[in-house]
Symmetry: C2
Subunit: 153 residues, 2 copies
Amino acid sequence: MLSEKQKELIERIGVFHEHKGMQPLVGRIMGLLLVHGNAEATFEEIVEELSVSKSAVSNALTFLQAKDRITYHTKPGDRKRYFSLRMKNWSEELEREMLEITKMKDVLDDVIQERDDSSCPEFRKCLVDFSDFLDFFKNEIPSLFKKFRSQKS
Amino acid sequence: MLSEKQKELIERIGVFHEHKGMQPLVGRIMGLLLVHGNAEATFEEIVEELSVSKSAVSNALTFLQAKDRITYHTKPGDRKRYFSLRMKNWSEELEREMLEITKMKDVLDDVIQERDDSSCPEFRKCLVDFSDFLDFFKNEIPSLFKKFRSQKS
DNA sequence: AATTTGGTTCTTTTTTTTGTGAACTAACTG
DNA sequence: CAGTTAGTTCACAAAAAAAAGAACCAAATT
Protein backbone atom coordinates (compact mmCIF):
# COMPACT_ATOMS: atom_id res chain seq x y z
CA MET A 1 0.00 0.00 0.00
CA LEU A 2 2.75 2.44 0.97
CA SER A 3 5.84 2.87 -1.13
CA GLU A 4 9.30 2.64 0.39
CA LYS A 5 9.67 6.37 -0.08
CA GLN A 6 6.46 6.98 1.82
CA LYS A 7 7.51 4.71 4.67
CA GLU A 8 10.81 6.53 4.90
CA LEU A 9 9.03 9.89 5.00
CA ILE A 10 6.72 8.66 7.75
CA GLU A 11 9.70 7.66 9.85
CA ARG A 12 11.40 11.00 9.28
CA ILE A 13 8.27 12.89 10.24
CA GLY A 14 7.89 10.63 13.24
CA VAL A 15 11.38 11.35 14.47
CA PHE A 16 10.90 15.06 13.87
CA HIS A 17 7.89 15.07 16.14
CA GLU A 18 9.57 12.88 18.71
CA HIS A 19 12.22 15.58 19.00
CA LYS A 20 9.47 17.97 19.96
CA GLY A 21 8.45 15.69 22.78
CA MET A 22 5.63 13.75 21.17
CA GLN A 23 5.50 10.05 21.62
CA PRO A 24 6.76 7.97 18.71
CA LEU A 25 3.47 6.62 17.48
CA VAL A 26 1.81 10.02 17.59
CA GLY A 27 4.51 11.38 15.32
CA ARG A 28 4.27 8.52 12.89
CA ILE A 29 0.52 8.83 12.66
CA MET A 30 0.93 12.48 11.69
CA GLY A 31 3.46 11.28 9.16
CA LEU A 32 1.03 8.76 7.73
CA LEU A 33 -1.71 11.37 7.42
CA LEU A 34 0.64 13.76 5.65
CA VAL A 35 1.84 11.18 3.20
CA HIS A 36 -1.38 9.28 2.65
CA GLY A 37 -2.89 9.51 -0.80
CA ASN A 38 -6.20 10.94 0.33
CA ALA A 39 -4.67 12.82 3.25
CA GLU A 40 -6.86 10.73 5.53
CA ALA A 41 -6.84 7.27 7.01
CA THR A 42 -9.11 5.01 9.01
CA PHE A 43 -8.31 3.48 12.38
CA GLU A 44 -7.87 0.12 10.71
CA GLU A 45 -5.53 1.48 8.06
CA ILE A 46 -3.36 3.09 10.69
CA VAL A 47 -3.13 -0.16 12.62
CA GLU A 48 -2.13 -2.02 9.48
CA GLU A 49 0.16 0.47 7.80
CA LEU A 50 2.12 1.18 10.95
CA SER A 51 1.75 -2.37 12.31
CA VAL A 52 0.93 -1.39 15.86
CA SER A 53 -1.77 -2.49 18.23
CA LYS A 54 -5.28 -1.12 18.28
CA SER A 55 -4.83 0.15 21.80
CA ALA A 56 -1.76 2.14 20.89
CA VAL A 57 -3.58 3.71 17.96
CA SER A 58 -6.64 4.43 20.04
CA ASN A 59 -4.57 6.26 22.64
CA ALA A 60 -2.58 8.18 20.08
CA LEU A 61 -5.69 9.29 18.21
CA THR A 62 -7.37 10.38 21.44
CA PHE A 63 -4.28 12.42 22.26
CA LEU A 64 -4.13 14.02 18.81
CA GLN A 65 -7.80 14.94 18.98
CA ALA A 66 -7.38 16.41 22.46
CA LYS A 67 -4.54 18.54 21.10
CA ASP A 68 -6.73 19.51 18.17
CA ARG A 69 -4.21 18.28 15.63
CA ILE A 70 -6.60 15.94 13.82
CA THR A 71 -10.30 15.55 13.10
CA TYR A 72 -12.35 12.86 11.54
CA HIS A 73 -15.31 12.76 9.27
CA THR A 74 -17.57 9.89 8.37
CA LYS A 75 -19.11 8.66 5.16
CA PRO A 76 -22.73 7.69 4.68
CA GLY A 77 -23.27 3.98 5.15
CA ASP A 78 -19.80 3.54 6.61
CA ARG A 79 -19.17 3.26 10.30
CA LYS A 80 -15.46 4.00 9.99
CA ARG A 81 -13.92 7.29 10.97
CA TYR A 82 -11.68 8.99 8.47
CA PHE A 83 -8.97 10.82 10.33
CA SER A 84 -7.11 13.74 8.85
CA LEU A 85 -4.75 16.50 9.96
CA ARG A 86 -6.31 19.83 10.81
CA MET A 87 -4.07 21.67 8.37
CA LYS A 88 -5.95 24.96 8.57
CA ASN A 89 -4.32 25.71 11.90
CA TRP A 90 -0.66 25.12 11.09
CA SER A 91 -0.05 28.79 11.72
CA GLU A 92 -1.61 28.65 15.17
CA GLU A 93 0.48 25.61 15.93
CA LEU A 94 3.57 27.44 14.75
CA GLU A 95 2.69 30.48 16.80
CA ARG A 96 2.35 28.25 19.85
CA GLU A 97 5.78 26.80 19.18
CA MET A 98 7.32 30.23 18.95
CA LEU A 99 5.60 31.32 22.14
CA GLU A 100 6.95 28.18 23.74
CA ILE A 101 10.44 29.54 23.23
CA THR A 102 9.55 32.71 25.06
CA LYS A 103 8.26 30.79 28.10
CA MET A 104 11.79 30.98 29.43
CA LYS A 105 11.21 34.65 30.08
CA ASP A 106 8.84 34.00 32.96
CA VAL A 107 11.24 31.90 34.93
CA LEU A 108 14.15 34.10 33.91
CA ASP A 109 12.48 37.16 35.38
CA ASP A 110 11.91 35.31 38.61
CA VAL A 111 15.57 34.34 38.65
CA ILE A 112 16.63 37.93 38.06
CA GLN A 113 14.43 39.15 40.86
CA GLU A 114 15.67 36.51 43.25
CA ARG A 115 19.38 36.93 42.55
CA ASP A 116 21.66 39.09 44.60
CA ASP A 117 24.13 40.24 41.99
CA SER A 118 26.22 42.60 43.99
CA SER A 119 29.12 40.28 43.18
CA CYS A 120 28.53 39.46 39.50
CA PRO A 121 26.68 42.30 37.80
CA GLU A 122 27.76 41.21 34.30
CA PHE A 123 25.89 37.96 34.78
CA ARG A 124 22.76 39.82 35.73
CA LYS A 125 23.18 42.00 32.67
CA CYS A 126 23.26 38.91 30.49
CA LEU A 127 20.08 37.62 32.05
CA VAL A 128 18.34 40.94 31.57
CA ASP A 129 19.45 41.11 27.95
CA PHE A 130 18.19 37.62 27.36
CA SER A 131 14.88 38.38 29.00
CA ASP A 132 14.57 41.57 26.96
CA PHE A 133 15.10 39.70 23.76
CA LEU A 134 12.50 37.10 24.61
CA ASP A 135 10.08 39.90 25.34
CA PHE A 136 10.93 41.54 22.04
CA PHE A 137 10.49 38.29 20.17
CA LYS A 138 7.14 37.56 21.80
CA ASN A 139 5.90 40.95 20.64
CA GLU A 140 7.32 40.47 17.18
CA ILE A 141 5.46 37.22 16.47
CA PRO A 142 2.16 38.70 15.31
CA SER A 143 3.90 41.20 13.03
CA LEU A 144 5.83 38.32 11.56
CA PHE A 145 2.67 36.57 10.46
CA LYS A 146 1.20 39.82 9.23
CA LYS A 147 4.27 40.58 7.19
CA PHE A 148 4.18 37.13 5.63
CA ARG A 149 0.57 37.49 4.62
CA SER A 150 1.05 40.92 3.11
CA GLN A 151 4.13 39.75 1.25
CA LYS A 152 2.15 36.85 -0.19
CA SER A 153 -0.66 38.89 -1.72
CA MET B 1 22.81 26.57 51.28
CA LEU B 2 19.94 27.08 48.84
CA SER B 3 16.74 28.80 49.87
CA GLU B 4 13.37 27.20 49.22
CA LYS B 5 12.73 29.78 46.56
CA GLN B 6 15.96 28.84 44.82
CA LYS B 7 15.16 25.14 44.96
CA GLU B 8 11.77 25.82 43.48
CA LEU B 9 13.32 27.85 40.67
CA ILE B 10 15.79 25.08 39.94
CA GLU B 11 12.96 22.59 39.57
CA ARG B 12 11.03 24.91 37.29
CA ILE B 13 14.05 25.51 35.11
CA GLY B 14 14.70 21.78 35.11
CA VAL B 15 11.21 20.98 33.91
CA PHE B 16 11.43 23.71 31.29
CA HIS B 17 14.51 22.12 29.81
CA GLU B 18 13.07 18.64 30.07
CA HIS B 19 10.26 19.82 27.83
CA LYS B 20 12.87 20.68 25.26
CA GLY B 21 14.15 17.13 25.37
CA MET B 22 17.03 17.45 27.81
CA GLN B 23 17.40 14.90 30.50
CA PRO B 24 16.20 15.90 33.95
CA LEU B 25 19.53 16.31 35.67
CA VAL B 26 20.96 18.35 32.81
CA GLY B 27 18.11 20.79 33.16
CA ARG B 28 18.45 21.04 36.90
CA ILE B 29 22.16 21.69 36.66
CA MET B 30 21.46 24.59 34.34
CA GLY B 31 18.93 25.74 36.88
CA LEU B 32 21.46 25.57 39.67
CA LEU B 33 24.01 27.53 37.68
CA LEU B 34 21.44 30.22 36.91
CA VAL B 35 20.34 30.58 40.49
CA HIS B 36 23.65 30.10 42.23
CA GLY B 37 25.01 33.12 44.06
CA ASN B 38 28.26 33.26 42.12
CA ALA B 39 26.73 31.96 38.92
CA GLU B 40 29.11 29.05 39.14
CA ALA B 41 29.40 25.78 41.03
CA THR B 42 31.89 23.01 41.57
CA PHE B 43 31.33 19.36 40.82
CA GLU B 44 31.06 18.67 44.53
CA GLU B 45 28.53 21.43 45.10
CA ILE B 46 26.35 20.12 42.31
CA VAL B 47 26.42 16.63 43.78
CA GLU B 48 25.44 17.97 47.18
CA GLU B 49 22.91 20.64 46.26
CA LEU B 50 21.03 18.40 43.88
CA SER B 51 21.69 15.24 45.91
CA VAL B 52 22.57 13.04 42.99
CA SER B 53 25.42 10.67 42.35
CA LYS B 54 28.84 11.70 41.12
CA SER B 55 28.43 9.59 38.01
CA ALA B 56 25.18 11.26 37.04
CA VAL B 57 26.78 14.68 37.47
CA SER B 58 29.85 13.65 35.54
CA ASN B 59 27.75 12.51 32.60
CA ALA B 60 25.53 15.57 32.64
CA LEU B 61 28.52 17.94 32.76
CA THR B 62 30.21 16.10 29.92
CA PHE B 63 27.04 16.46 27.91
CA LEU B 64 26.65 20.15 28.67
CA GLN B 65 30.25 20.81 27.70
CA ALA B 66 29.86 18.87 24.47
CA LYS B 67 26.83 21.02 23.66
CA ASP B 68 28.83 24.11 24.56
CA ARG B 69 26.32 25.22 27.13
CA ILE B 70 28.79 25.48 30.02
CA THR B 71 32.49 26.09 30.63
CA TYR B 72 34.64 25.86 33.65
CA HIS B 73 37.54 27.85 34.97
CA THR B 74 39.94 27.01 37.73
CA LYS B 75 41.45 28.95 40.58
CA PRO B 76 45.13 29.01 41.52
CA GLY B 77 45.95 26.45 44.17
CA ASP B 78 42.58 24.77 43.78
CA ARG B 79 42.08 21.62 41.82
CA LYS B 80 38.32 22.05 41.55
CA ARG B 81 36.57 23.12 38.40
CA TYR B 82 34.14 25.98 38.63
CA PHE B 83 31.39 25.39 36.12
CA SER B 84 29.27 28.19 34.75
CA LEU B 85 26.79 28.77 31.96
CA ARG B 86 28.12 30.16 28.73
CA MET B 87 25.71 33.07 28.79
CA LYS B 88 27.36 34.96 25.96
CA ASN B 89 25.81 32.64 23.44
CA TRP B 90 22.18 32.71 24.51
CA SER B 91 21.38 34.38 21.22
CA GLU B 92 23.04 31.63 19.22
CA GLU B 93 21.16 29.07 21.25
CA LEU B 94 17.94 30.92 20.59
CA GLU B 95 18.68 31.14 16.91
CA ARG B 96 19.27 27.42 16.84
CA GLU B 97 15.92 26.85 18.51
CA MET B 98 14.17 29.01 15.95
CA LEU B 99 15.91 27.23 13.13
CA GLU B 100 14.82 23.97 14.68
CA ILE B 101 11.22 24.98 14.04
CA THR B 102 11.97 25.48 10.37
CA LYS B 103 13.48 22.01 10.00
CA MET B 104 9.99 20.81 9.20
CA LYS B 105 10.33 22.54 5.85
CA ASP B 106 12.83 20.00 4.56
CA VAL B 107 10.64 17.01 5.12
CA LEU B 108 7.56 18.96 4.09
CA ASP B 109 9.06 19.71 0.72
CA ASP B 110 9.85 16.05 0.23
CA VAL B 111 6.28 15.21 1.10
CA ILE B 112 4.96 17.76 -1.37
CA GLN B 113 7.16 16.39 -4.09
CA GLU B 114 6.16 12.82 -3.37
CA ARG B 115 2.42 13.37 -3.17
CA ASP B 116 0.05 12.87 -6.05
CA ASP B 117 -2.55 15.48 -5.32
CA SER B 118 -4.76 15.15 -8.33
CA SER B 119 -7.51 14.24 -5.89
CA CYS B 120 -6.97 16.72 -3.04
CA PRO B 121 -5.36 19.90 -4.35
CA GLU B 122 -6.48 21.99 -1.34
CA PHE B 123 -4.39 19.79 0.91
CA ARG B 124 -1.36 20.35 -1.25
CA LYS B 125 -2.02 24.06 -1.15
CA CYS B 126 -1.96 23.96 2.63
CA LEU B 127 1.36 22.15 2.60
CA VAL B 128 2.87 24.63 0.18
CA ASP B 129 1.63 27.56 2.26
CA PHE B 130 3.09 26.03 5.36
CA SER B 131 6.40 25.39 3.65
CA ASP B 132 6.44 28.95 2.33
CA PHE B 133 5.93 30.36 5.76
CA LEU B 134 8.72 28.28 7.23
CA ASP B 135 10.97 29.53 4.49
CA PHE B 136 9.93 33.10 5.18
CA PHE B 137 10.52 32.67 8.89
CA LYS B 138 13.94 31.15 8.37
CA ASN B 139 14.93 34.18 6.34
CA GLU B 140 13.44 36.56 8.85
CA ILE B 141 15.49 35.30 11.81
CA PRO B 142 18.65 37.33 11.23
CA SER B 143 16.66 40.53 10.66
CA LEU B 144 14.87 39.84 13.91
CA PHE B 145 18.12 39.89 15.85
CA LYS B 146 19.34 42.91 13.97
CA LYS B 147 16.14 44.80 14.68
CA PHE B 148 16.43 44.00 18.37
CA ARG B 149 19.97 45.24 18.57
CA SER B 150 19.22 48.47 16.76
CA GLN B 151 16.17 49.04 18.92
CA LYS B 152 18.28 48.62 22.02
CA SER B 153 20.89 51.21 21.24
C1' DA C 1 -31.03 -12.85 19.62
C1' DA C 2 -26.46 -13.87 17.93
C1' DT C 3 -22.61 -11.94 15.29
C1' DT C 4 -19.79 -8.62 13.33
C1' DT C 5 -17.65 -4.14 13.21
C1' DG C 6 -15.17 -0.36 15.10
C1' DG C 7 -13.31 0.92 18.51
C1' DT C 8 -12.01 1.70 24.04
C1' DT C 9 -10.15 0.40 28.53
C1' DC C 10 -7.36 -1.93 31.64
C1' DT C 11 -3.62 -4.84 32.97
C1' DT C 12 0.80 -6.59 31.72
C1' DT C 13 5.11 -6.69 29.16
C1' DT C 14 8.82 -4.61 26.72
C1' DT C 15 11.91 -1.03 25.96
C1' DT C 16 14.18 3.14 27.01
C1' DT C 17 15.80 6.46 30.07
C1' DT C 18 17.85 7.91 34.10
C1' DG C 19 20.42 7.34 37.94
C1' DT C 20 23.43 4.46 41.39
C1' DG C 21 27.53 2.41 43.35
C1' DA C 22 31.79 0.53 43.24
C1' DA C 23 36.04 0.28 41.07
C1' DC C 24 39.32 2.93 38.76
C1' DT C 25 42.62 6.78 37.17
C1' DA C 26 45.32 10.79 37.27
C1' DA C 27 47.11 14.54 39.62
C1' DC C 28 48.50 16.44 43.75
C1' DT C 29 50.16 16.45 49.01
C1' DG C 30 52.49 15.28 52.92
C1' DC D 1 55.60 6.32 48.42
C1' DA D 2 51.08 6.25 50.93
C1' DG D 3 47.05 8.81 51.05
C1' DT D 4 43.77 12.32 49.40
C1' DT D 5 41.16 14.79 46.08
C1' DA D 6 38.60 15.32 41.85
C1' DG D 7 36.54 13.18 38.71
C1' DT D 8 35.48 9.11 35.11
C1' DT D 9 33.87 4.62 33.66
C1' DC D 10 31.18 0.65 33.65
C1' DA D 11 27.93 -2.85 35.10
C1' DC D 12 23.57 -2.78 37.07
C1' DA D 13 19.02 -1.19 39.25
C1' DA D 14 15.04 1.71 39.42
C1' DA D 15 11.68 4.17 37.21
C1' DA D 16 9.19 5.89 33.47
C1' DA D 17 7.47 5.61 28.80
C1' DA D 18 5.55 3.02 25.06
C1' DA D 19 3.24 -0.61 23.24
C1' DA D 20 0.76 -5.20 23.43
C1' DG D 21 -3.11 -8.12 24.33
C1' DA D 22 -7.17 -9.52 26.02
C1' DA D 23 -11.54 -8.32 27.67
C1' DC D 24 -15.00 -5.32 26.98
C1' DC D 25 -18.78 -2.15 24.93
C1' DA D 26 -22.07 -0.02 21.77
C1' DA D 27 -24.06 0.27 17.33
C1' DA D 28 -25.26 -2.00 13.27
C1' DT D 29 -26.24 -6.49 10.63
C1' DT D 30 -28.11 -11.11 9.87
